[in-house]
């Protein structure tokens, strides 16, 4: 791969320092308005950029500035997860994806704001204040990876990392007008990602160009002995699939998902995207996902159950915050967790503890895992007839800050189109397809079979070529 032409929207190695400095300055300047970053590493990032520039050797991502969600460990930088309980935590190691990306020359410029422990769809659950949408700062960025989506949308960085447990990359990507990918379960190592729901979590990528997502995934994906859920599946050259030729591609259209609860402008916009695919030579096939309506119920049992177990480790003993003046151990645990966690995290720990508690396991958790099988089988059945399924990513464009904070169930329903992919373990990508009348981005989602990232990139790229999304938000670098 020739680094000089490797990344159209990215710099060449000779400009590393200049490009990284541009990103850092933009991040600093816009942070008061957007609150996208929780930490900006000016000194460290510039030093690494200078090293890369001086080294002068070719590497795929040489000198490319990236932003990283604050639940992914970068040695020397904080990893607060948007929580007070890890507010001062500095992990002593790099996540595997960070090792791989930095080895390929990427430069981490900072850590991005997110909903606390990745729990949320609006970024309003961050202990450090919400991220603001660069298209309209009175509106949410989406979540939970809102800071990363905003950093890319505002042109601060070309690429950012997030994590996606129920839509936390795809939904903010849609609300901010950028590409967002959740890969197949087991594609990326989660070593160094602070666990939320281990059977659903997957690290994903934001960028403004499909090609950049493809290139970055190619560097970070693959088996990792530190994460036993990574699968032994070869990593292809994802850029090879960006051919622009969509003739004969079969796109599944699940008509029943375009009904109740879907904003009219979003519906029209996604249906227009379907027409574009038809013009490009794709065949549109009707498909059914009969159990999709149960996905939110299944998700909020499984995700909270796993979270209640994963978050048991935050007890004030080995790292992070500890409550003061607690002379007895159990009291210390209880008060640390009470003071350290925010309301949504506590609510989910409570729900998860309840559904796993004696006498309720079969009724909730087991039942949910059975319905999850039905959801997964729906996809396997649908993919016999098509290469990918097209849906909206989010039922509405970005909503107003504060609009849904007091109604957790209404907030959960934002994830209606995205959670199914996590439950089935299949990959999904959100692609911008226009602006609403209020000039807010709208996105569609493509979901494909296991390991079909090349197909998703090909389809997303084909659309991008036909209908490039060139609009820029009013708050921009």
């Amino acid at each position: 791969m020739n680094p000089e032409t490797s990344c159209k929207s990215c710099p060449t190695k000779r400009m590393s320092r200049q490009t990284v400095e541009f990103s850092i300055t933009a991040a600093e300047r816009l942070n008061e308005t957007l609150n996208a970053f929780l930490e900006i590493d000016r000194e460290g990032a510039l030093q690494r950029a200078t090293e890369i520039e001086n080294r002068g050797t070719a590497s795929v991502l040489a000198g490319i500035p990236i932003a990283v969600k604050d639940n992914i460990c970068v040695k020397g930088l904080q990893a607060s997860c948007g929580s007070k309980i890890l507010g001062d935590y500095h992990p002593p190691y790099n996540a595997t994806v960070i090792e791989r990306l930095t080895k390929a020359g990427a430069v981490v410029i900072g850590k991005t704001n997110c909903d606390e422990f990745a729990m949320g769809s609006s970024n309003e659950n961050s202990a450090f204040g919400p991220v603001r949408n660069p298209w309209d700062t009175t509106r949410v960025s989406g979540g939970s990876s809102g800071g990363s989506a905003t950093a890319v949308a505002a042109g601060i960085v070309p690429v950012a990392l997030g994590s996606d447990t129920g839509g936390s990359v795809r939904q903010p990507a849609s609300l901010c007008g950028v590409i967002g990918l959740k890969p197949t379960y087991g594609r990326n190592s989660r070593y160094g990602l602070v666990a939320f729901a281990s059977s659903l979590d997957q690290i994903g990528v934001f960028a403004r160009k499909v090609e950049d997502v493809a290139r970055v995934l190619g560097v970070m994906a693959g088996r990792d002995p530190h994460d036993s859920t990574t699968a032994d599946v070869p990593v292809p050259d994802y850029t090879a699939s960006l051919t622009g030729d969509l003739k004969g591609a079969r796109l599944g259209f699940p008509r029943t998902l375009y009904g109740e609860g879907l904003d009219a402008e979003v519906k029209t916009s996604v249906e227009n995207a379907v027409d574009v695919y038809r013009e490009l030579g794709a065949e549109i096939v009707d498909v059914e996902l009969p159990h999709a309506g149960y996905a939110i119920a299944v998700y909020y049992i499984i995700a909270t159950a796993e979270a209640s177990s994963n978050l048991a480790r935050f007890d004030g003993v080995r790292y992070g915050f500890r409550a003061e003046e607690t002379p007895e151990l159990r009291q210390m645990y209880r008060r640390t967790r009470e003071e350290g966690f925010g309301p949504e995290v506590k609510r989910r720990i409570m729900l998860g503890t309840y559904v796993l508690s004696a006498g309720y396991y079969d009724a909730y958790y087991l039942k949910a895992q059975q319905v999850r099988t039905l959801i997964k089988n729906d996809f396997l059945e649908a993919f016999k007839r098509c290469d990918a399924i097209i849906t909206p990513t989010s039922p509405t464009p970005a909503f107003a800050l504060g609009e849904k904070v007091d109604d957790p169930l209404a907030m959960y329903l934002n994830d209606i189109y995205t959670v199914t992919a996590n439950l089935a373990g299949v990959p999904g990508i959100s692609v911008p397809c226009g602006l609403s009348s209020a000039r807010l981005p709208i996105g569609f989602q493509l979901i494909g079979p296991y390991w079909s990232e090349p197909t998703l990139f090909k389809l997303a790229h084909g659309y991008e070529q036909a209908r490039p999304f060139t609009e820029r938000p009013p708050i921009s670098a």
Partner: protein, 98 residues
């Protein structure tokens, strides 16, 4: 299965959360609403359905994650203690247990 206020307090205790009165009052109705919502799953007959647990892709399930029993590097005591709220003499110090 209706969930009531005393269930909420019991669950908070199990989860090691010392919830304030105010939180107990808000969480109660919210949890009841969410539990009622998820109970829609009872409408589905899942008697003969295998639960989906772990190894979601066939390739993931077939990946051998075992390794040879060889000693590998680790963080080491000093680094492992650096982020502890109260380290002492190479250990994690906690308040009295009894």
């Amino acid at each position: 299965m209706p969930i009531n206020q005393s269930d909420i307090e019991k669950v908070a205790n199990l989860a090691h959360l010392e919830l304030a009165e105010e939180e107990l009052k808000t969480f109660g109705p919210q949890m009841i609403q969410i539990i009622n919502y998820v109970e829609q799953l009872n409408a589905l007959d899942t008697k003969n359905v295998e639960p989906a647990i772990g190894g979601l892709t066939p390739e993931g399930a077939n990946t051998d994650s075992s390794r040879d029993d060889e000693i590998a590097g680790s963080l080491g005591q000093k680094t492992a203690l650096e982020e502890a709220p109260d380290p002492a003499h190479g250990h994690f110090r906690v308040p009295k247990v009894l």
